[in-house]
Symmetry: C2
Subunit: 198 residues, 2 copies
């Protein structure tokens, strides 16, 4: 499990390398993640990473996969399907705003065909599809293919966070809305549209 690396007292070199990379990423962005500094933080030489990862990109992919896997455990128990969906989306928003660098890394473009990363991504969305389907059943979301409606709400949460992080969301006046506000706006509009079918 990915979270193991935070709990155990003895961490493997590989885990220490991944943790060091994530810390450097948080502190100084992608430019701060140099293999030399990663090695220093992990207590090994600057090219020890090459014994665990093919190259720097594969190390970063391991960081991203860990983030996706952790995202998974955030599920809660609500009686109300609408509240479940809202909690999932707002959890996504909160995570992205709190760890912007990990968010940008995780949802960036990957040339690495890492299976670990792809699997983590699809299984992360599966939970969201389930919540969308349940919300459709109680008619707080419009009809239609659940995967497609999931893509809609995920795209909005993702875009809202990205715009807020890059400062492209109006911060002033009464038009002000942060990413969490926009998620609520969308859910409200979708609930209002629910009975009209297409």
């Amino acid at each position: 499990l990915s979270t193991w690396r935070y709990r155990s007292g003895v961490a493997s070199t590989r885990d220490r390398l991944v943790n060091a990379a994530a810390e450097l990423l948080d502190q100084g962005g992608p430019a701060a993640v140099t293999l030399r500094e990663v090695g220093r933080l992990a207590g090994v030489s600057h090219n020890a990473p090459y014994k665990h990862f093919a190259d720097k990109e594969e190390l970063l992919a391991a960081v991203a996969a860990g983030e996706l896997a952790q995202q998974q455990g955030e599920r809660r128990r609500h009686a109300d399907p609408a509240a479940v969906l809202r909690a999932l989306l707002l959890g996504y928003v909160r995570w992205a705003l709190r760890y912007p660098q990990r968010f940008k890394l995780t949802f960036g473009t990957w040339t690495t065909g890492s299976d670990e990363l792809a699997d983590a991504a699809t299984s992360a969305r599966t939970a969201l599809v389930g919540a969308v389907r349940a919300a459709q059943d109680v008619r707080v979301l419009p009809r239609g293919d659940p995967e497609r409606v999931t893509a809609l709400v995920l795209a909005l949460a993702h875009g809202a966070v990205d715009l807020e992080l890059s400062g492209h969301l109006a911060k002033t006046g009464k038009g002000h809305a942060d990413a969490a506000d926009l998620v609520d706006d969308l859910l409200r509009h979708l609930a209002a549209a629910r009975r009209r079918g297409a």
Copy 2:
């Protein structure tokens, strides 16, 4: 005007540097934009850029500002406000999918306090706000602060494009929807919700 640099036969060194940077960005991503290669493409030495830009980031900011300025001229004349809004959003999607690297650069996080870039960004959104207001007037969009509704539709278009570019949009099955599909889905849902107020 920013597009001048494409039309004139005699281009200043500054313009040639910006064009060279944009071309390298398209071809090989941010990593391919080295000042040495930029200089070579522009026919100057590898540190001539420092006479026109404070550093590499300011050169990239000039590329981004040029993209935003060009985005501006895409306005069309439609009788139908809904068609105007849709054309603006789909134009944004088309541009982003065609020039993914410029899109990522332009909407990335800027530490540079470049006024040129900030002004271009706000004036680009002003056109969108106008289209949203017109669509609200003919009741194809819900009521509410136009800037906030603009943020909603922009966030969706932005997020849908970003997810499609990073391969996080389901490509298979009947749940398949690309970024343009999601824009249409949102506009349809918002039109259906129009009469319910909040």
